[in-house]
């Protein structure tokens, strides 16, 4: 196998690292060097071992075999905190925040500033506010984590990680929940860190981002290091092929817009959510894929949750006739999956009624459904008894997608459906959505990935500050127009 060593001037390296969870080995003999002032991208399919590798390099997991070297010397990092003490910081793929704490408390947790025996809250608050401001993120540092959207939580995590003055900063899919603008802000920050000589690791499934920011790229497949190359030598298609092991064509399925007189499945009129969404109205037709774009806090999630009846709404009306509606949440950990449970009960949780025989749950029927979902969405769940919390992020997302599709809805609202999903599976999901639409269902896609909206949707609504600011379709459906509406350069504010 290839390895990612270069010998010279590595800050942090791994040599021959393997990792097993129980009897299953998920990383095999990986060797890699991270250099100061360089962005090293890790790519690979869901479950390839990217997160596991970064956890080993930062001390959260001990390797089953092999060594971690810091400045060429072997180190045994006892814990993540130990890693941080050595200047190695990991920004987790999954949030590492306590919901009841405030932003300031979270950012300083474990390393509070004090004056005498007391917390220096004023200074910490000011500092937290500054960190957030650096990220152009205007949330008060006294807001509780519980009240934040996933993207805001991610920004808090970024603020926290970058405050560590790390020598090595590893970011595990930091952009999966960020919009274009926030991603740009993050990349600005990355560039600055790079100049300061920090060694950076960047994991993402968005290959355009990888191309944009990485100096070197390492591809993992099934726990093996397939290749480490300078970014300049690799095109996106090549990366995709290395990852998946086969060439990828047609990421997006051909568009088949519905007839103009197709039946209306869902009509939303003058809907409001107190303080978040105002006077939202739109309609969805049979066979239509309708996109929703917008920046953080634009209110897309709130609007969709209100439509799905998960949130109190204020005025307005939602007419869906007798059509079944399903909603895929953007927050899979807090609202989507029971992390302590295996895949089977998670898959069937919202449709349990159709898995009962008499009063009893039919486990064989559930198992059959799981088999089908595994095939349909390329789920890699290892053992069936494995708790969902131990699945790789992308596989959790795929399971959640499968769970929602179990309801066989007529109208399906998917909020950030491909969060953390690898490119091969993305393709599968896009085609799946297109087939749904072709079969006469209506699909609403809320996404922060503009290419996804543009490539997949027949029509896109752009939200800004709780209002629908504009509608785009056909020729005018492009990134510039979306950004114009989203930032208020165009359309009613």
């Amino acid at each position: 196998m290839a390895d990612g060593t270069t010998g010279a001037d590595a800050v942090l390296s791994v040599r021959g690292v393997s990792k097993s969870f129980g009897p299953v080995e998920v990383l095999h003999d990986v060797s890699l060097d991270l250099r100061a002032g360089e962005v090293h991208a890790l790519v690979g399919e869901n479950g390839a071992g990217k997160s596991t590798l970064t956890k080993i390099m930062s001390g959260y997991h001990p390797p089953s075999a092999g060594q971690v070297l810091l400045d060429g010397q072997p180190v045994a990092l006892a814990s993540g905190v130990d890693g941080e003490r050595h200047g190695i910081v990991l920004l987790h793929q999954e949030f590492n925040l306590a919901e009841d704490l405030t932003i300031e408390e979270s950012i300083f947790l474990g390393r509070e500033w004090r004056r005498g025996p007391f917390l220096d809250k004023r200074r910490m608050r000011a500092h937290a506010a500054k960190l957030l401001a650096d990220l152009h993120c205007r949330i008060p540092p006294t807001a509780r984590i519980r009240s934040l959207s996933v993207s805001q939580k991610q920004m808090v995590e970024i603020a926290k990680a970058t405050d560590h003055r790390a020598r090595v900063l590893m970011m595990d899919e930091p952009t999966s929940v960020l919009t274009q603008d926030e991603t740009d802000i993050l990349f600005g920050l990355v560039a600055q860190l790079k100049r300061n000589g920090v060694a950076l690791v960047f994991i993402s499934h968005k290959l355009d981002e990888v191309k944009r920011i990485a100096d070197r790229i390492t591809v993992l497949r099934d726990g093996h290091l397939v290749a480490t190359r300078p970014a300049a030598e690799l095109g996106q298609d090549e990366i995709a092929q290395l990852m998946v092991g086969r060439p990828l064509h047609d990421l997006y399925p051909p568009k088949q817009p519905p007839a103009a007189d197709a039946e209306l499945l869902l009509t939303v009129h003058a809907l409001g959510v107190p303080g978040r969404v105002f006077d939202a109205g739109f309609a969805l037709r049979r066979g239509e894929i309708l996109g929703f774009a917008g920046l953080i806090g634009a209110g897309r999630t709130e609007l969709m949750e209100a439509i799905a009846g998960l949130r109190r709404r204020e005025g307005g009306s939602v007419a869906a006739g007798a059509h079944r509606l399903a909603y895929l949440t953007e927050d899979r950990k807090a609202k989507g999956l029971l992390l302590q449970f295996p895949s089977r009960p998670n898959l069937t949780l919202s449709t349990l009624a159709s898995f009962t025989r008499g009063p009893f749950i039919s486990v064989p029927a559930e198992d059959a459904a799981l088999d089908k979902a595994i095939k349909a969405f390329d789920l890699r769940i290892g053992s069936r008894d494995m708790q969902v919390g131990a699945l790789s992020g992308g596989n959790q997302q795929k399971l959640l997608f499968a769970k929602v599709m179990e309801t066989q809805p007529d109208i399906v609202i998917v909020d950030e459906p491909t969060r953390g999903v690898d490119i091969g599976t993305k393709q599968q999901i896009y085609h799946f959505i297109a087939r749904l639409a072709a079969a006469g269902k209506g699909v609403i896609v809320v996404s922060s990935e503009m290419p996804e909206l543009i490539g997949l949707c027949h029509r896109v609504l752009v939200m800004r500050e709780g209002r629908i600011a504009g509608e785009l379709a056909g020729e005018s459906l492009n990134e510039e127009e979306i950004v114009r509406y989203a930032t208020g350069l165009k359309g009613a504010a």
Binding site: Q340, F341, F360, G389
Partner: protein, 337 residues
């Protein structure tokens, strides 16, 4: 194949299946250890008579703990069960005496009152459940309030004294506790039935699955379209019904109810449930464990009565120490870290 780190998926792996099995087996092992201890202290412990006594005696707390397993698994708590047992028993006695006068002391009265007990318990549970879910209040507070209310109302009905079954009804109803079939007392049969039913409901029905889901993560359950309030209310109804059945066999034992009936049962039932391996914070429940927990508590008391080595004043200390030790033993087995 691993323990998953609940939050981050980062803790080192531990074989999941194995752990779950051990976790479920822990209470049984603790019970066996206690039984061995009992036998060492006094060989009479293993006498058929004594074992029957112990199991029969565990029936009340055992049944209540079955209901408690549902409530706690779904993330709730019911402190009112002891008082509920008192008031249900009291009303059953009043009803029985009244019916005996009205329609004569026939076995039918017993049958009617047995069903009345079940219904009364269910009704009290419904009340708990509705106040908790519709009032959006902490179950601890609501059931604490009802704990006071139920007991107080019984004291009022009994005028501070004791409600007693009339002589003939006593004789008619008595066999329900004291007799048996196939050499096994009826209370044990009833207990077995309640446990079996409880296990079937918790492990094989939709409702049971929902209890786990709600206790594990209420938001996820809500987003999955589960009717939270309905499921939660049903757990309290089940809990109440279990109390009702416990009363059905409690009343014939002594034929009376007073303000001290069922005193402290809430703590015993919760303890049985937790000793049995159910997680106090919800999301993980074991019916079998709860019964074993109830047996453990009874056996501890039994052993205290069978031995004479300890000053009676230290009874409580020994019991406390044994509970801690039993749980430590089972945790030691189940949760090696």
């Amino acid at each position: 194949m691993s323990d998953a780190a609940t939050t981050l998926g980062q803790t080192p792996p531990r074989p999941l299946l194995q752990r779950v099995d051990l976790r479920a087996a822990g209470p049984f092992l603790a019970l066996v250890a206690l039984a061995i201890l009992g036998t060492i202290i006094n060989s009479d412990f293993l006498e058929a008579g004594n074992l029957t006594n112990v199991v029969t005696r565990s029936a009340f707390i055992g049944m209540i703990a079955v209901g408690g397993t549902f409530v706690i698994t779904a993330g709730g708590n019911d402190l009112s069960v002891g008082s509920m047992a008192a008031i249900v028993s009291g009303i059953m006695i009043v009803l029985m005496n009244w019916l005996a006068q009205e329609i004569g002391p026939t076995p039918w009265v017993v049958v009617i009152v047995i069903f009345a007990g079940l219904a009364l318990g269910g009704l009290a549970g419904l009340l708990n459940g509705l106040v908790i879910t519709l009032g959006k209040m902490e179950p601890f507070i609501v059931t604490l309030g009802f704990m006071g209310i139920y007991r107080s109302v019984l004291t009022y009905i009994a005028n501070g004294g004791t409600l007693t079954l009339s002589g003939t009804m006593r004789t008619l109803y008595r066999p329900v506790f004291y007799d048996g079939a196939l050499g096994i007392p009826y209370p044990v049969w009833v207990l077995a039935f309640v446990v079996a039913l409880g296990a079937v409901v918790l492990y094989t029905t939709r409702f049971g699955r929902y209890c786990f889901a709600i206790g594990s993560n209420e938001e996820v359950a809500r987003y999955s379209g589960i009717a939270l309030n309905r499921v939660k209310t049903w757990t309290y109804i089940l809990q109440g019904a279990c109390v009702g059945v416990a009363c059905d066999i409690y009343v014939p034992r002594l034929g009376s109810a007073s303000s001290t009936s069922g005193l402290g049962w809430e703590l015993e039932a919760i303890t049985a449930v937790i000793v049995g391996g159910t997680a106090l914070k919800g999301g993980y429940g074991r019916i079998g464990g709860s019964i074993v927990g109830a047996l453990i508590l009874t056996v501890i008391g039994n052993i205290m009565n069978l031995s004479s080595d300890v000053s009676v004043y230290l009874n409580g200390a020994v019991q406390g120490a044994i509970i801690i030790a039993a749980v430590f033993l089972q945790r030691g087995v189940g949760f090696k870290r």
